[in-house]
């Protein structure tokens, strides 16, 4: 039940529903999809990437001079956590030796370890929180794979390119879409339970920007099912795969010949720095939602702070498309306790409709995400003022979910969306009977470290897979292509890094690139007390944080990372 001040608005949704349902049942688009020009118009006027101050040139490193999302530029221009001079002993006597170092224990990292283990290669997964604490775990709606008879991998290719405004790397999109059917089978063989039709064929639904029904799913827990399957398999190979939890990497290590040779880990339990020497290294650290870009709430997990970008960049790897950010069209707005949480796009894939305060459609429900989000922001903004306000000052539009049961038959929502039902039931809202209030939420790092289809970077021995990489999705990813991405490229990174590690010979280990980064900051006259990788965001209230920052040695903040960050106030005044 919604409180009285919102219940009146719900009535508008109910009032317009019979007509909208009638139209939906005809199979025709319920609202005209946008043309190329209309897309361009709504994006440039309303997408947060185009707002004032959203981007600025980065002043250091391989992409120097290029426009980047401001929050990312700030991270790349921050100090390292370590002093290379103090690491010299460690570099001579590493704490861990392994063939393959995998940084990050999410979907891509686990796939890389499993693939390496299948070839008898030893690996070490170093991860910030627990293995599986990753955005992979939280994906809800589905994965794209062209498995139905009406579909084809090349159609999938065209949809993905169009979603990314034709800027995606064609070679990467090809392997993404061409590997997809086999990934479905591989996951099934590892024990993933797919939603199926009674004859065994895959259940497929639409997602934003798909021209064929291509979304395969596991109710609305696809990430939790895939992640737990992969983690369980990783842990079935203790002889080949070691796991170090709460030990995030904070810098890469190169050898004297410029090859990647491992990383410096930081134990969150003991605050020790630990050296890993590895023949090949895979960055699978995921995205950056916890940077709260443009002040947005996020759907991302606690550790999504873009660490991989920072480390790879300092080591000399080039980044791609770091001027774009994905906002998921449907983050929760009410109740306040779940503000920003993900409402799966599968809701719209199954027929859910976004509606303004008059209960009217204002956008085709399945535009690509950037377009859909910009249209929702336009509807809520000053130009139209058609949003619905909550008591804490948030604004959103409705997402009509009850219409789904009317399209597919009663009980469909409870069967297909147990996670969404549970999330709202906790607050007394039955989404089979009442709509949800939604607004875009910071969701995905479209760009990342530039890779090729073998997941190689410009640094020999360094591989990147999953959300940390850039190029696959251009400047806008479609729903279901990130679940596919970490599966396809995690597996590929495992294969190719294993091949490389078989013959790689390492020279003397070095952190000279970290020392050089410090010199570059000085040369460019960059004065900052920011340290990166950020590792974890802080949600301590500002007055408490100021009391914590009073500790001696905080300016410049060159010690314990957890208590040496900008307060929100300081961040606001930062360039």
């Amino acid at each position: 039940m919604y409180p009285d001040y919102l219940a009146g608005h719900v009535k508008e949704v109910e009032r317009t529903r019979p007509k909208r349902l009638e139209l939906a049942l005809t199979g025709a688009p319920v609202f005209p999809p946008m043309t190329a020009e209309e897309r361009e118009d709504v994006l440039t006027k309303y997408h947060p990437d185009y707002s004032k101050g959203a981007k600025r040139p980065v002043r250091v490193g391989p992409n120097k001079g290029e426009e980047m999302t401001t929050e990312v530029a700030v991270l790349l221009e921050a100090h390292s956590m370590i002093r290379p001079k103090l690491m010299e002993l460690g570099l001579r006597e590493p704490d861990y030796e392994t063939d393959l170092l995998i940084i990050g224990g999410g979907g891509a990292g686990c796939w890389a370890a499993i693939t390496a283990a299948r070839q008898g290669m030893k690996s070490l997964i170093a991860t910030k929180l627990r293995i599986g604490d990753a955005n992979t775990m939280m994906s809800e709606g589905g994965m794209q794979a062209a498995v139905s008879r009406t579909d084809s991998p090349t159609r999938h290719y065209l949809d993905a390119m169009g979603g990314g405004h034709f800027e995606n790397d064609p070679a990467l999109v090809r392997v993404l879409t061409e590997d997809a059917p086999e990934i479905v089978r591989e996951l099934e063989n590892l024990g993933v339970i797919w939603d199926k039709e009674s004859d065994g064929s895959m259940q497929v639904l639409h997602g934003g920007g798909t021209s064929r029904k291509r979304m395969v799913s596991c109710r609305d827990y696809i990430g939790a099912i895939i992640m737990r399957t992969l983690m369980d398999e990783v842990r079935n190979h203790p002889d080949l795969i070691s796991i170090r939890e709460f030990e995030p990497a904070v810098e890469l290590i190169l050898d004297e010949n410029g090859r990647c040779a491992g990383a410096v880990l930081y134990s969150l339990d003991t605050e020790q720095f630990l050296i890993v020497r590895a023949k090949a290294t895979i960055i699978a650290t995921g995205g950056f939602g916890r940077l709260h870009i443009r002040g947005f709430a996020t759907t991302n997990h606690y550790g999504a702070t873009g660490d991989g970008l920072v480390m790879a960049y300092r080591a000399g790897a080039k980044l791609k498309f770091m001027d774009s950010v994905q906002y998921h069209p449907t983050g929760a707005v009410f109740p306040e306790q779940i503000a920003g949480f993900l409402i799966t796009e599968k809701i719209r894939g199954a027929g859910g409709q976004p509606l303004n305060k008059f209960g009217e459609l204002f956008v085709f429900p399945r535009e690509p995400r950037d377009v859909e989000s910009a249209a929702i922001i336009r509807e809520c903004g000053h130009d139209r003022n058609n949003g619905i306000d909550t008591y804490v000052g948030r604004t959103g539009v409705w997402l009509d979910s009850p219409i789904i049961d009317m399209i597919h038959g009663e009980g469909y929502i409870h069967r297909q969306f147990p996670g969404m039902c549970r999330q709202f039931n906790r607050f007394g809202i039955d989404i089979a009977k009442e709509p949800m209030l939604i607004y875009p939420s910071l969701h995905y790092q479209n760009g990342g470290v530039a890779i090729n289809e073998r997941c190689e970077t410009s640094i020999p021995g360094l591989y990147v897979a999953g959300e940390a990489s850039g190029g696959v999705h251009g400047r806008n990813r479609l729903m279901g292509n990130s679940v596919l991405d970490y599966n396809v490229f995690g597996r590929r990174a495992g294969q190719h890094a294993t091949q490389y590690a078989k013959t790689a010979k390492l020279g003397r280990l070095s952190l000279e690139h970290v020392a050089e980064h410090a010199r570059e900051l000085k040369r460019e006259g960059i004065d900052t007390d920011m340290i990166s990788p950020l590792i974890l965001p802080s949600y301590t209230p500002e007055d408490v944080k100021i009391q914590q920052l009073a500790r001696l040695g905080n300016v410049p903040a060159l010690h314990s990372m957890l208590r040496s960050r900008f307060t929100a106030q300081e961040r606001r005044t930062h360039p």
Binding site: A28, P29, K52, L129, R130, D133, V147, R149, S152, P153, T154, R155, Y157, L158, D159, G162, F166, R174, E178, P181, E182, R185, E188, N189, L190, G191, V192, I193, W194, G200, S201, H206, S211, A224, I225, R228, T229, D232, N236, F246, H292, G295, F296, A297, Q337, C380, R394, T395, P418, R422, L536, S538, Y539, T540, P541, E542, V544, Q548, R563, A568
Partner: protein, 241 residues
């Protein structure tokens, strides 16, 4: 809606000005926090940086298992810190990790029946059907029922009932028979996906097509098109109803 000029930070103190406050005891120490806060936000509001005890923060990962008591109530309650709201007088502590041994097994050598449970998690058969696990489950799953199904070898039923498990391990910590219920659930789900599925003929055919390079020609055509041509093709494509 998050106004651009006014960054919204999750859990920041300012947004709660004027909110009603309640007292909670975090690890025995009293803190005053907003009454609408989740346990996780209350802990952070009090000034803690959570390291062990937060993961996805949305109810999927099971990192934030928490036990608590309420005034005048003898019960030891369980919940996820990210989705459980504080109550006045609540006394809580987070569980930093759940000690347990995940069995090492080879999925390819198991069969989807009671022998798999016997072989991998024999402790399952110590179940006394007390229902403590079901009471402890923050997802509201019928945990005891699926453990009983596992003892009968009804693997598909276990998978169905344990589908939404977040593996927080609170059931396993409360179980007087020391069963690790969530692991039994994961094993059963994997057995179901691997062995009890209906095969998809379309999927077989599509994989075979890709392997026989059926799409190579079309890919090379698409990959060499310029942006204008690709865009024309894209906006003209038909959309399946």
């Amino acid at each position: 809606m998050q106004k651009e000029t006014e960054p919204h930070e999750e859990g920041g103190k300012r947004q709660h000005v004027g909110a009603h406050m309640v007292s909670v005891y975090i690890n025995g120490k009293r803190h005053v926090v907003p009454e609408h806060a989740t346990i996780m936000r209350a802990i952070e509001y009090a000034g803690h940086q959570i390291i062990r005890g937060a993961g996805c923060r949305e109810g999927f990962c099971g990192a934030c298992g928490t036990i608590y008591r309420l005034p005048g109530d003898y019960k030891l309650h369980t919940g996820l810190a990210c989705t459980t709201l504080v109550k006045d007088g609540m006394s809580l502590t987070q569980i930093p990790s759940v000690p347990m041994e995940k069995a090492v097994y080879d999925l390819e050598t198991l069969t989807p029946d009671v022998t798999a449970i016997l072989q991998v998690y024999p402790v399952t058969f110590r179940c006394v059907a007390c229902g403590t696990c079901t009471k402890a489950c923050p997802q509201g799953l019928p945990v005891m029922d699926y453990i009983q199904a596992a003892m009968r070898g009804d693997i598909a039923a276990v998978a169905d009932m344990a589908f939404d498990c977040v593996a927080c391990g609170l059931c396993a910590l409360r179980c007087p028979a020391e069963i690790i219920q969530h692991e039994v659930g994961i094993l059963s789900k994997r057995l179901t996906g691997r062995y009890l599925r209906k095969e998809s003929r379309e999927l077989d055919d599509r994989i075979a097509e890709v392997r026989s390079h059926k799409y190579d020609g079309e890919y090379s055509k698409l990959m060499t098109m310029d942006k204008a041509a690709l865009s024309k093709l894209y906006y003209a494509r038909d959309i399946e109803p």
